[in-house]
Symmetry: C2
Subunit: 150 residues, 2 copies
């Protein structure tokens, strides 16, 4: 039991990219299968493991990685956190909390709440920027309409 998070599997959120179907009814995948499904490179997946961002990946008897569905779920969450702009070091911190077990639920919740605040602030910032873009695009459009008229 590595991932002690109380997460219900939400497979929908790591659905395979179109044209890259996940093999059905299997719970082990090679690194290139996972790369195809997640959009990350095999290099990046190995690097994630090296820096402690993967909660331990199984190996075949010859040492090749065999990713499981729980790893795909984890990578789906990491993908979301990455989209927020969270630094990899913070994600590693979260991964450490997960490895430490259930007594870190509170810390994990706080970390996610801080991230949520950041994301909300970022959205507000972008909406602000959107207003500036709308304004400038209008000014260009208006100025071009005017110059056409004369």
């Amino acid at each position: 039991m590595i991932d002690s998070s109380p997460v219900r599997t939400h497979r929908a959120s790591c659905a395979p990219a179109p044209g890259h179907p996940l093999p059905e009814g299997r719970d082990h995948y090679t690194i290139s299968e996972v790369a195809r499904v997640t959009g990350l490179s095999a290099h990046t997946l190995r690097w994630y493991e090296r820096i402690g961002l993967m909660p331990h990946v199984d190996r075949s008897h010859t040492g090749q990685r065999r990713f499981r569905n729980r790893d795909l779920d984890w990578l789906a969450l990491v993908g979301k956190l990455r989209l927020t702009g969270m630094p990899v070091a913070d994600m590693v911190r979260y991964a450490e909390l997960v490895r430490e077990g259930e007594h870190t639920f509170e810390a994990r919740q706080e970390l996610l709440e801080a991230t949520r605040r950041d994301v909300r602030a970022r959205i507000a910032e972008l909406q602000d920027t959107l207003a500036v873009l709308d304004y400038k695009i209008d000014v260009y459009a208006e100025s071009r309409r005017t110059s056409e008229r004369y």
Copy 2:
């Protein structure tokens, strides 16, 4: 006439940070004054100029930079574009269009419209992430409430 953009000055968007008032009734500022106002470092301002991201900055008779209000307006826009995650190279491209004159209005409008599409997509992405965060935070909160009860 370097900046041929049809922009009305929108000083509100580059209002000095609280506690860092802009000297009133003046239209030339040293690099450190601009650094204070924009939140960028003097290093970064020099670097922006070197890579062609500033539409030409005036100099004093001894060669020191004298930024003007139009430079502050430009930096305010650059700051907004930077928030969108636009690569510096693209901002340089926009600066080049500005330097080339009014005949690039269409190209500039297109560039801003492409940026606007990116920003809208990014906001959608973040809102998606927000949903995942809400869900996970709920799960942790619920699980902690439950474990308290028993």
